[in-house]
Every structure is written in structure tokens, then in C-alpha cells.
Amino acid sequence: MTRYAMVMDQRRCIGCHSCTIACRTWNELPVDIVYNPVVSQGATGIWPNVHLEFQPMICMHCEHPACVPACPTGASRQDDDGIVWVEPTQCMGCKVCANACPYGARVYNEEEGFMRKCTFCKDRVRVGDQPICVQTCHQKARTFGDLDDPNSEVSQLVNQYYTERVYPELGTDPQIYYIPSRGRGRD
């Protein structure tokens, strides 16, 4: 069975925000909505050994998402391959899911009246392409693929390197894996 996941290699990310812009363009997002902000952490250390780290944030497409069971209308749903998405025509805009998401991955547009979120570019993935953020990243910091396939690049990265996830203690089982730069854990 397919289980889509993404690996973010923070050793490679230079914080250029290309993924953010490409996502906005591909998904035709309103100007105040961002699906995948790139957050900078630091600078840390003492000169000359200072270090700036970038953490691309995105919907974690959790195995056990907090947002889907919170949705009263069934508009928020998870496919068999793990992609979490919102059906706009069924969303009544109650914003419960946005309050339930620990990652701030859901964004609400007052003018449209429904919830928006990253869909792992499922329109591209279903026809064999990579999500637009992965394709755009010129540093190859993002890797997308099937975690259930032992030969896929994401599986190999997750098995080979030390990876971290955001707030795994909440029991959501997030499917975005971060390879921290210089083997350093998050603050």
C-alpha cells in the first residue's frame, strides 16, 4: 500500500523560499495565504562558529491527523495513501480543524469561506509528478515518495539518517521527516 511522506533535509535548505513561491503560484493562493512557510532558526553559536538553520513547515499529512476527526461536516478527509485534504464544497468554514491542528497547517480565507491546506499537490502526484515544492527545490532539500516502498528514496533516507518529527508526542504520527543540519537537534 502507498503511504506518501516527505523528507526535509535541513542540511541542504538555504532558506530561499522558492518552495513557498512555487506553491503559491501552482495552487493560485490568495496573497495572504501560505501553505509552506520556511522558518529560520537562529542564528545560534558564537562567532565565527555561527549557524542559521531553516525549517520548511508544511502540512504533516499525519497518520492520525487531529483535524480530520474534528471536522463536523466530513469535508476534511484522508485518502488511503495518507493525503489529508479538504473538499471545499462541503466545508462550512467552522474553523474547528484549524484550531485542532498542532502545526498551523490550515489557513482560512474569509472571502472564500472555506478552509485551505496543502494537499501534497495530489493533482500532480496522482499523475506521477512530484509536488511542486519538491520539483522547485534546487537544493534537493525536499524528497517525496512512498514510505511503504523500501526502495523509495524517502524510505532509504528515513532509514539511513537520524530524522526528527514535529511534536510526535501528540500522537498524530506526522509524516514529514526532518534531517537536522549538522546532526543537531531542534532547540
Binding site: 490568495p30 496573497v31 495572504d32 501560505v34 512557510p37 522558518v39 529560520s40 532558526q41 537562529g42 525549517q55 513547515m57 487531529a66 476527526p69 474534528a70 471536522c71 463536523p72 461536516t73 466530513g74 469535508a75 464544497t89 462541503q90 466545508c91 462550512m92 468554514g93 467552522c94 474553523k95 474547528v96 484549524a98 484550531n99 485542532a100 491542528c101 498542532p102 502545526y103 498551523g104 482560512y108 474569509e110 472571502e111 472564500e112 469561506g113 472555506f114 478552509m115 514535529v166 511534536y167 501528540l170 531542534r186 532547540d187
Partner: protein
Amino acid sequence: MQQFWYWHIATYLFLGGLGGGMMTFAFVLGVIVAPSLLTSSILVFPVFVAFICLGVGTFLLVFELGQWKVFYRAFVTKTAVIKWGAVLLSISMIFGVLFIFWEITWLAGLPIIPYEGFARACLAIGGVAGAGVMVYTGVLLASMKARPFWNTPALPVLFAVSALSTGAALMSVCVGVWPFPDAWLLNTTMYPTTVPAWGSGAAALACTEMTEWLHTADAVLIVCEILVLGLFVLLQFCASNETAKAHANRWVRGSWAGIFWGLMVGCGLVLPLCLNLMGGVAGAIASPILALAGGLLLRFMIVWSYQRRLMPSEYKYYTREIQGHEPIMDYWKKDKYWEEI
């Protein structure tokens, strides 16, 4: 940052709890404590006020939605907390209306359903659903594990106690206002078959007893609320989560300390309790009004303590993006930019 719920939801949580609390007390008084035709007729107006509270709350909830036309879909899922809230609200309101309808037709001498048990059953079902509504308002927020200040089992308890306290306060004001039991019940010639000759004395006595009972209940509940609120804030101080701690700090000794200690604890809990114990006009009118204002303020303070646990530097990212760029953002959002090119 990342606030999604504003005054609509805060007021809805307050009115839902208030209406639910009143329905619960109507059930307790009309079915358990003093089940009689006289009690039922006195409870018509409080149940009507509870219905109005629940109705206005639901109105605020529905018209705060982005796409209110698909509100019916709130009933299609099985597990969502808000779905159960919608179901309980509907049950409570429907059976409240059925109870009022039965009582009015009966008092008017047109008993469409000539069974007294029907009214009591309506009150029981509506009251149990109302109890569910007041607990649900807390469970809705407590189920958000992304929001550390809400995500605690103490919150539904706090909301339930506050709902019962405010419910008792408003009910004590509503008892005996309408349908003027004295006037109705004295006019036995008009309704000779349905209304027994209770006389004005019996009705007035029942109203006074019920009001006193509610005042006592309110005093006990305010004491409980002070204890639960203290426990709630203490739990947040002891939380392992920094965001919850920061909110607790803001409440107790930060920028909201004046509102918390002065308005909520002082004017919303301690002062109504003192006035209640003093009795007289202050106890009958000022105490319930202050208790209601305290309940509303509690919901606002809780809803505004919404902060999500943030990643390091995430706060900086979001605030930096917006600061100073509001005119540009507004300009783009209003499509002025695209119209001009």
C-alpha cells in the same frame, strides 16, 4: 496569531452554557424536586428564555460560518464534537418548544395532548440534552490538543459549573415573570376543566420557594466555580507546556491580571456571592446580573487564550511577514493591483 474564533464563538459558548444550565435546572425542578402542574406552569417562562439563549447562540454559530448554507452537513459525521453539540442543541431546543407548546395549550384550555407526563418527558429530554450542551461547550475547546490552554480536562468542568451557576442566576430572575401564575390561576371560570383551583397564594408561594432554592443553588455553585477556576489556573501553571504557562501568567500576574482579579474573580464571582448571601433586592437582581457578566467574561478570556504551541522562530516568521505590509496586503487583496494593470 492564528486566532480563528472571535466574539461570536465566545458569546455562543456562553449562551449555549447558559441555556443548557437553565434547561438542566428546569429538569431538576420540574421533574425531580417538585414535579407538579404548578411547577410546570411556573417553568414555562424560564424554559422560553433558555430557548432564546440557545437560539441566539446557534444563530451566532451558524452566521459566523464561512459557508452557512452547508450547515446541515454538521449532522452527517459520527465522531466530531461539534456534531454532537449541534445534535444536543437541536434536541434541547425542540423539546423545550414542545414543553412550552404543551403548557400554553393546556393553560389555555386546549389540551392537544391530554397527558401531563408528556410535558414532564419533554422537560426531562430537553434538560438532559441541555446538560449535554453545557458540558459540550467545554469539551469542544478541551478537545483541541493544539491549544495547550484549552486542552485540559478541567476546562469542561469549569464551563459546566459556570453554566450551572449562570443558569441558576438567570432562572432566579425569570421565575414568576410570566405567565403570571396568580392571574392565570385565579381565573378558574375560564379554564374550569383543566386548571385546578390553586389560588394565588399557592402560586406565589411556589414562586418564592423556587427563587430561594435557586439563590441557594447559585451561591453553592459560585463557591464551586471559584474552586474550579483556581484549580484550572493552578493546573495551567503546573503544565509542562510553556504556552499554557505563559497564558496562566498573563491571567494571574501579567497584562490581564486586572481583568482576571478585578472583573472576573472580584465582580463576577466574589461580589455576586456576597450580594447573594446578603439577600434583598441586591441579591435578587444585582447578584444574577454580575454572575452573568462574569460568565461571559470567562468565555471571552478563555477564547482569547488561544495560542498554539509554536516552533522556535515561528512567531518571528508570522509577525515579520505582516508587520508594516498591511497597506500592500490590503491593496492586493482588494484586487486594486490587478484592476490597474
